[in-house]
């Protein structure tokens, strides 16, 4: 029995080298090729950064290669309507100030989360959206991971699709980034698992019947087959910590914004792919 376990363990370790996907397969969406593998920056603990798309099986991968097959696009369509529909006491829509989403929101996702000089703090895309809603539109803020918010972040993210992740980690970002790194390596919950234990030490290997990815967030918000809806970055972080049987930080908390910045930076060089499709 022991030999059997040892054999399985070494087989599992061998799998560590691959991603499980058909190697060499390229992610091309609507004629645009995405960077799904890139050399890691010098400071990075890994040598290569790999998109979560590479770890999925061909059927799941295919869903993201065509904008009609990608179920996330239903919600993008809904957000397009919301973009030009006035809401709130000021009688304004997103379009009233920002014009066409294709022009004004290009590149926005790639630099998120972004330090807001005026507020003197780090903001996620959701913070920027809710600031518009409350301050400019005089509308109710949306729930962080509610269907309106994830649809809108998907629409905005789509305008950066194919652009490289470009978050900053210097200047006012540095302390946030360091805080995020600390969280990434902290073991949480009864299972005492840090993000790094799965997504740095064991990516490419199986956790039960699922293949661990590097935990990149360049594909968020992500349509998951599991729950058939769009999932926010912070909601995914929440789920991971919950599954360590720990008490997660709140969506929208400073802790998760710091972690978002750090995890985004671990994917520098990858393309923004959102809204992606994952299992």
């Amino acid at each position: 029995m022991r030999t059997l376990i040892a054999a399985c363990a070494s087989a599992a370790l061998c799998l560590g080298a691959g991603t499980g996907a058909a190697e060499g397969q390229k992610l091309v969406i609507e004629g645009q090729e995405m960077v799904t593998r890139a050399p890691a920056p010098d400071w990075h603990p890994l040598t290569e950064v790999i998109s979560g798309w590479e770890f999925r099986d061909p059927a799941t991968q295919a869903l993201q290669m065509d904008d009609f097959e990608n179920p996330a696009m239903i919600f993008v369509d809904q957000a397009r309507e919301m973009w030009s529909t006035p809401d709130g006491a000021a009688g304004k829509s997103c379009e009233s100030c920002h014009g066409a989403v294709e022009d004004s929101m290009k590149g926005v996702r790639a630099v998120m989360p972004k330090f807001n000089e005026e507020a003197g703090t780090l903001w996620s895309l959701e913070d920027y959206i809710n600031n518009c809603r409350t301050a400019r539109m005089q509308a109710e803020p949306w729930k962080w991971s509610g269907s309106e918010m994830t649809a809108m972040t998907a629409l905005i993210t789509l305008q950066s699709r194919g652009m490289p992740v470009a978050v900053r980690i210097d200047g006012p970002y540095q302390s946030w980034w360091e805080k995020g790194r600390e969280i990434y390596y902290t073991r949480y919950g009864q299972l005492e698992l840090a993000c790094a234990n799965c997504h740095e030490d064991h990516y490419g290997q199986m956790i039960r019947a699922d293949r661990l990815s590097q935990g990149q967030i360049n594909g968020f918000p992500t349509y998951r087959l599991k729950n058939a809806k769009l999932n926010s970055i912070h909601n995914r972080f929440y789920g991971c910590i919950r599954d360590t049987r720990g008490v997660p930080f709140a969506e929208g908390s400073d802790e998760f914004k710091a972690l978002e910045l750090y995890v985004a930076s671990r994917g520098l060089g990858l393309s923004i792919e959102g809204p992606a499709v994952r299992n």
Binding site: D57, A59, A209, R236
Partner: protein, 141 residues
């Protein structure tokens, strides 16, 4: 009569199952055979005449891509023998169908056979089966 331990366990399980069915419970879903018989009018389908394209292993049982194809068929019933209710959907092809094929995405509760029964051009029925393994996700996150 000598009972093996396995027999005893099986009988025990049967007794438990029997007590679990409450009186007046909603009508149980038809069995696979009943669903097929309802579609074929009792005729036993022959092998072939219809093909199923499906992944060997589905990454998530919640969304499994399936395609059925039965040249000349007027309708194709899709079933899954391990779901609580085996019926999945039935395609009916009209005069303007370009081919008697269709693709959709289905839910599979566990590893099981997906079946397609087609009413063929000559009025007979054809059947095909394909096993799809459904994996249990990672940590559930």
């Amino acid at each position: 009569m000598q009972l093996t331990r396995r027999d005893a366990l099986m009988m025990g399980a049967g007794a438990v199952a029997a007590t679990l069915i409450p009186a007046g419970a909603p009508r149980a879903a038809p069995t696979l055979d009943e669903a097929i018989a309802a579609f074929t009018g009792g005729a036993t389908p022959g092998e072939g005449g219809v093909t199923i394209t499906a992944p060997e292993i589905a990454e998530n049982g919640n969304t499994v891509p399936i395609e059925v194809d039965a040249p000349g068929a007027s309708s194709i019933m899709l079933l899954a023998d391990g779901n609580p209710n085996p019926a999945v959907c039935t395609f009916h092809f009209g005069p303007l169908a370009g081919a008697q094929m269709a693709a959709t995405r289905i839910r599979l509760a566990r590893t099981q056979n997906v079946l397609a029964v087609a009413r063929l051009a000559d009025g007979s029925y054809g059947i095909a089966r394909r096993e799809v393994k459904v994996t249990i996700g990672g940590c559930g996150g």
